[in-house]
Amino acid sequence: MLDPKRPKPLPTPETQHFWDGMKRGELLLQRDKDTGEVYFPPRPFVPGTGSTNIEVFKASGKAILYSYVIHANPAPGFTPPYAIAVVQLEEGPRMMTNIVDCPQTPEALVLDMPLELVPTELDDTITLPLFRPAKG
């Protein structure tokens, strides 16, 4: 269970589909239908070109650990030490997250280690995309 004091995202019309997807346990990304380029965070057009010829699709949930810090001090909703991580999704985009089911140490958190999605409920409306070391 996540600490309810964790900062809670407030969805906007442009991101609501993402949070609805997470509620179902699906990580949704967007891509440019002309070029196949995948982007994140959500917006109803392709950054850099402005094209609205886009589609929403379900990501594999596979990622690698790209970088992180391990916070040594407490923060609202968090007990130290905890890692604030950036993962690179198999589809390309990167996102901030936390790594669960794993010691929060430099020895256990090895860059480029394979990860898998763990949709984790924050409350009735928000499910966060957390990650854990991939099994197998």
Binding site: R6, P7, K8, P9, L10, P11, T12, T15, F40, P41, Y66, S67, Y68, V69, I70, H71, A72, N73, A75, P76, G77, F78, P81, Y82, I84, A85, V86, R94, M95, M96, T97, N98, P106, L111, D112, L122, I126, L128
Partner: protein
């Protein structure tokens, strides 16, 4: 197009006190800097017809000083806002929008008296896609790309620690610097952990203070009591408000626009640079700055600093006031980097680089979110 040496800095000063200033609110720190800069160059408040500031709205500043200006710039993109203010002010004076611009910074970063710091917005993209994972202030965000940099570029923990060690050497020569006692790499690596791999001695200070600059045309600058410091070149850019969305974790896209744009406009090569300021909120920033501005090849800046090139006596004196790591850091440090460049060009810095003619001053805003670069010279 703004020409090199067309505009000069004629007034420059910091707040009377620095560090802990419990007797002044945020806006008064702006005013204290402004009044000191006016006194520095012999102007009155009524001589100012353009203003720029960050951390307070320019409306607050204009009202507080009692000015109704013809030119206003409230660009607020973090600590490099002041470099960008200098750039815009120079263009505005050149275009005839105004004649004399006052740029101020004041921040009650430590005492937090009357500080304007808006609460995080949970509906912003950062509020939705970063804050739920526990970043809590710059030490846990600005530092996130560094482990990636270390893996890809081979930077060691010792080299990262050494950035703080060298800057403390400069601070030791500066009576106004907050921390002046020598430190070793071991001291840094044994200091309190903040956010692995960053320890307290690799993170900037949190202080009260401010600074102000006054710009006018080079033509008018000749009539001032101060030695004019000419603007040779300028650059600015922004990339992303989210550290997780920085395109390349080993290099800042905003740095790569602002720095080279300023150097090109100045018409200088790296060998022409006598003095360098690279905003150092954290120990990795000088490393990214040296590489993105082309002073070092990718992956070489850690060793470049370790070889004492930027230390006292080195060929590229950098962060000669002691930097955000040892001199002062109110929250938006860029103004203090500019002040040190001006002092070096005037020949009045506590750790003066003898014969320095060209100074490059490079700022960062947010967490690699924004950038501004100014190239100065004291040669007309």
């Amino acid at each position: 197009m703004l020409k090199p040496r067309e505009i000069a800095i004629v007034g420059a000063a910091e707040t009377t006190g620095l560090g802990k200033i419990p007797g002044m609110s945020n806006i008064q720190l702006h005013a204290d800097s402004a009044l000191n800069a006016l006194k520095d160059c012999g102007l009155k408040v009524s001589d100012i017809d353009g203003i720029a500031c960050a951390g307070e709205s320019p409306t607050n500043l204009a009202h507080y000083l009692g000015i109704v200006p013809k030119y206003v710039d409230g660009t607020g993109v973090g600590g490099c806002s002041f470099m960008i203010h200098v750039r815009h002010a120079a263009a505005a004076i050149s275009a005839g929008l105004c004649t004399t611009v006052l740029i101020t910074h004041g921040e009650s970063g430590s005492s937090r008296i009357g500080l304007n710091r808006p609460a995080p917005n949970p509906a912003s993209l950062a509020g939705q896609f970063e804050l739920p994972y526990g970043p809590f202030g710059p030490p846990t965000m600005f530092t996130i790309p560094v482990l990636r940099y270390m893996k890809e570029r081979g930077l060691t923990h010792e080299q990262l620690a050494n950035v703080s060690v060298v800057q403390r050497e400069w601070a030791a020569m500066n009576p106004r610097a907050r921390f002046r006692d020598p430190i070793t790499v071991e001291d840094v690596l044994n200091s309190r952990m903040i956010a692995y791999p960053f320890r307290i001695l690799q993170c900037c200070l949190v202080t009260d203070g401010g600074g102000a600059l006054i710009l006018t045309s080079a033509e008018r600058a000749k009539d001032f009591p101060t030695k004019p410091v000419y603007i040779l070149g300028t650059g600015e850019s922004v990339e992303t408000p989210m550290i997780s969305q920085m395109k390349d974790f080993t290099s800042s896209a905003a740095f790569r626009v602002a720095g080279p744009t300023a150097m090109k406009a100045a018409g200088i090569s790296h060998a022409d640079v006598d003095h360098l300021m690279i905003y150092d909120a954290f120990a990795h920033l000088p490393i990214y700055g040296l590489e993105d501005l082309g002073f070092c090849k990718p992956g070489e800046a850690g060793a470049f600093i370790e070889a004492r090139n930027t230390a006292p006596g080195g060929k590229l004196p950098m962060n000669t006031n002691g930097g955000g790591l040892s001199y002062t850091h109110t929250g938006m440090y860029g103004m203090f980097a500019l002040q040190e460049s001006v002092r070096q060009m005037r020949g009045t810095a506590p750790a003066q680089v003898k014969g320095a003619k060209v100074s490059v001053c490079h700022g960062v805003g947010g967490m690699f979110a924004a950038s501004g670069t100014i190239v100065f010279t004291n040669e007309a």
